[in-house]
Symmetry: C2
Amino acid sequence: MKNTSPTIRDVAVAADVSVATVSKYVNGTKRFSPEVELRLKETIGKLGYRSNPLARSMITGRTRTIGLAILDISNPHFTNVVKGANRVALEHDYTLLLVDTEENPTRERALIEALAQRVDGLVISSRLPEDESAWMLDLNKPVVMLRHVHELTMPNIGIDNRLATYMLARHLLNLGHRRIAYLGFGHAPINDERVRGARECLAEADLALDVYDAHAPTAAAGEQACSKVLLGPRRPDAVICYNDLIALGFMKEAKSLGFRLPQDVSVTGIDNAPYGEYAEPRLTTVDTQSEKMGELATQKLIDALSGQTDTAHLILEPRLIVRESTAAYAAAGPKKT
Amino acid sequence: MKNTSPTIRDVAVAADVSVATVSKYVNGTKRFSPEVELRLKETIGKLGYRSNPLARSMITGRTRTIGLAILDISNPHFTNVVKGANRVALEHDYTLLLVDTEENPTRERALIEALAQRVDGLVISSRLPEDESAWMLDLNKPVVMLRHVHELTMPNIGIDNRLATYMLARHLLNLGHRRIAYLGFGHAPINDERVRGARECLAEADLALDVYDAHAPTAAAGEQACSKVLLGPRRPDAVICYNDLIALGFMKEAKSLGFRLPQDVSVTGIDNAPYGEYAEPRLTTVDTQSEKMGELATQKLIDALSGQTDTAHLILEPRLIVRESTAAYAAAGPKKT
DNA sequence: ATGAAAGCGCTAACAA
DNA sequence: TTGTTAGCGCTTTCAT
């Protein structure tokens, strides 16, 4: 176990050829006579030579590394994004430089700028409003944005948030619900779209949407917000949550407040997190295809990196997944047995 | 938006100093006269110069990057490991190069070897048996192993798996359970330790452990394995699962098979995954401090990178978390109402 | 078919 | 305090 790896030079000397030959051979740039190639192959094997990616990158200007900036790896949405991104990256022989900004907008920019220096391009998830995101264009690197942006001219990919909540609201209306609340996460720019979708749907039935806010996109925040929604002056008979995490927390707290789910109140999430299926009642939600988003964003970036310029944006279609946390509305029965 | 960034040379020329001066100034290696420093500061700002980390790394031999290899980011254990590792890395101004090997042992080695070339050191989680892991020592980079290894001479950090299942078994015995099964994941080397812990505890009460196996450490595998455990010839009244994911799947399926939890069968997991708390019944488990493992492993690696050589291994203590999925055993009552 | 030599952008002696 | 210079390990013309 030597502590300094062999260089291209060592190979050249040992195989009695020039460094240029080794380089070309290793990269498959040129072919050589059988004898030389054999000798090369052997000495490389014997020495255990591996080309130094740093030195190569310095010259080629490409690192074969993709930067992925997310807000919180604990959030299943991002977990799935990473999953998808990792898969596509590896398929194309790229590696992932991951930064979890931990929902901290203060550090976000510095972290992303630092990240940008070490990668060929970036996939970014951010809650910064568009008018504060212009600096991303000055990174001098291709960027794919993990949400739909309107003014910023960069490739982006998101889901149709308006449609997602519209579908949920429609589903609840179909079940007979009339007093529907939305427990959102106002800090996220996409929250507005989600409010709008639900509101538009309800407006068609001449109903208004009661909007509440959670302080974070987490189960704990959902738990915390529960009582103000269910024990406030306008008790809803159905609640659409910003995401599955909030919904899960909300449901847990609702049960401990004595509400029966879904009889007393229907609850929905958004994201189709894996654990919605293991909660009780199993969570009705909208699949936002997080993993696919990660895959497509990474693919888009790799395409851009290889000079392709495809369509600037892509909007995935949400899909409603009905499970047991939503049920037909049965006018006010007794709340507890 | 120019597409080629300014180099140290551009700054040197513009500020009318030598490149060495710029380099030293940028790195804070040396101080200079106020006039020079001011001029430097201004030109750097004007040109928007940022030192190229690749070029720097080539010389210093350090990338300020840590490689983290995990088996499946979707598994909450690893999600938390990444969370912890990310935090410590960022604190120390390192970035994380992440590789999710997707539980694929075939690709594992190649991926890790490639990863090793681009980082200063690695934190590795692997299910390879120790006698097939020796190649990790030839990576020529410091490696911290995310599980306790006995023969391999590398820093490592794990939890006391024997104790974890011992505690769970003891807990179940205390509740009056006598027929206890273990639903493991035989492919993981640590599974043996977990079997042993439970077995030893039961042996003290002259009881035997029934061991079953899930084909993956996932909820789906837990669901799948459920019927062979509960509907087989030796129906247990309590089941210890390899991890929370398997337990969650197991519980879901058990419920749909008509078992009441925990009355008909007590279930436990291991890991303290966030969602155990939102399942019903809430999952009794053992906290394995996954996030702390990620933190400590990364800290250990960074220490090693700065020349420190602390204790070679560290074993975290598991903590039992009793929730509602385990209850006192009430001798065979009617299974359904 | 193979090699010599000029750098990529930077740091680290060593000089001045 | 500041500058000169020699590379780090590699790729890439341009020769031979």
